[in-house]
Amino acid sequence: AVAQAATDIKVGVVAINSTGALQYAIDSGIFRKNGINVTEVVVFPAPPPGIAAVASGAVQFTYTPTIPAVNAYENAGVDLRIVAPADGYSRSVLVAAKTDPKIAAQLDDTGVCASPSKGINRWRDLEELTVAVPARGAQAEVTIVAAVKNDGGDPKTIKWTTLPPGQAVDAVKSGRIDAGFTVEPFVTECEKQGLKTVGRPGVEFFDTETAIGVWVTTAPYAKANPKVVTGFQKSMFEVHQYAMKSKANMNRVLRASTKITEVSPAVALAANPPTYPLYVTRVDVTRPAQKMLDLGFLSKKADVAGLLQKQYRPRR
């Protein structure tokens, strides 16, 4: 490789194991090779502060699920650009998961935990109950609303409350709430405590989308630093390709994730491995946006085409 001056960047993440790809790309020199030097990985508690940080230039790229990205782009007019996928689903598995909860469990690390004593068996049973989500108006709520609606329920009657995923299980168990959105390892914990997983709202929500989590930057930055953006895209492409190639590779990536999440490697390896898509496609953005409009989370028809940066495709 030609020795070139690497550009320093900072990247924002949330503490989930799919960010292992980013960490692995750093550790294994993929970024360096592509002319990028990641000086710092900043852990945010949720996507919105990460988006604020990217908007201000405090970090150059940040992780966010597509839903907050659409929100920020549409509601606030934050001029974001989706540059690369971060995590998602494999389309075929997603289709299979729709009917088979076992597969769904392997695919989606989120879940809605509920108390069986409340007689909650399916999505529409959540009607008129108290349901906790980590943040209002964000991914969890949008996906649960969609699931309830799909199941013939009226999501408007749900009483929303906010709780971090880690506290939802305790709250359900002590009867303080009826159901709560959680992520792994709490989904497992939920079942261990004798509670019930109603379903995986992510699996319900997404149909053909493959990228759920994405890397974003701002339009001005993308415009001013095309080389860096390409380098970043290329790096993520390479590491995703690498991770999906074999179980051993994936484990290496998951091990890298513990640098960010600070859980023990055993725990990281025990969890369901993430799926790493290679590109973000148009439908990955337009479908969620359309559904958000349908469900009333957006007030006007979203014009999200501009949100998507041209994706990296290797020349054959």
Binding site: G12, A15, V42, G50, A55, G166, K173
Partner: protein, 249 residues
């Protein structure tokens, strides 16, 4: 021979026993709230990792810098508003307005300007402390004994001397209360900055342990914060005793 047990130790041990009881047989049993023993285990792990000390150091740096800047601004400002009615009335609305705005609410705005950095944490600390501390100092400055002040005025002593020799000493108890509260508030806000705004330090440890459901680790970190809080208070009280020596007790 065993010396007398310091009351602080007695209290802490009693509190720990209560905690252990609550989590083993009491109202907190069978929930994810960890017991003392679990927490102790996590604490040992934390205390043996270099990472922990780096974060601790970051938190302390942030808290100390924020605290020092806040006090450096608030005490002179407080003296000013305590001395001058005009300044007091001028700032009343502004201070009352800003002092009730929670740091968590402005984090997204502050991140925008300063990024998820130590500076952001420091700014948040200053923002949280400075208004209330100014008012507190102002109240203390107004508390100076009127006879004493009149004596000084009669002798034509400069305003500076009045501040130095009458106002500040009289404001002592007020400043002491303010400083004690501010010191621990600085610590708390520095954690919040990490927990919600991505700033470095022990807040990040709590963020990560909460995200991964490692409750013993969360509690171990919280325990460390509590101990720091006690230590900080001790220092403040000690300083205060030295400074307010004239008060025969």
């Amino acid at each position: 021979m065993l010396g007398p047990v310091p009351p602080a130790v007695v209290s802490v041990v009693a509190a720990l026993a209560l905690w252990q009881l609550a989590t083993s047989v009491g109202p907190l049993a069978n929930l994810s709230i960890p017991s003392v023993t679990e927490t102790a285990g996590a604490l040992v792990t934390e205390l043996t990792s270099a990472q922990f000390y780096i974060r601790l150091w970051e938190t302390i740096q942030m808290a100390v810098a924020g605290f020092v800047i806040a006090m450096g601004l608030a005490i002179p400002l407080g003296v000013l508003i305590g001395l001058s009615r005009f300044a007091w009335r001028s700032t009343k609305f502004t201070f009352d307005f800003f002092k009730v705005i929670p740091p968590i609410v402005i984090i997204p705005i502050v991140i925008l300007v300063l990024g998820p950095t130590m500076q952001m944490g420091i700014f948040l600390i200053v923002f949280t402390l400075v208004f209330a501390m100014s008012i507190q100092t102002g109240l203390g400055v107004r508390d100076a004994d009127a006879v004493l002040l009149e004596t000084m005025r009669c002798y034509g002593m400069s305003t500076w001397k009045q501040i130095r020799y009458a106002r500040l000493p009289s404001a002592g108890p007020y400043i002491a209360v303010g400083v004690r509260l501010s010191a621990s508030a600085a610590l708390v806000v520095s954690i919040v900055a990490g927990l919600i705004g991505g700033a470095p330090g022990l807040g990040k440890s709590i963020l990560l342990s909460q995200a991964s459901g490692d409750d013993p680790r969360t509690f171990a970190t919280v325990f460390v914060l509590g101990v720091i809080g006690i230590a900080v208070s001790r220092v403040v009280i000690w300083t205060q005793r030295k400074a307010i020596f004239w008060m025969p007790t």
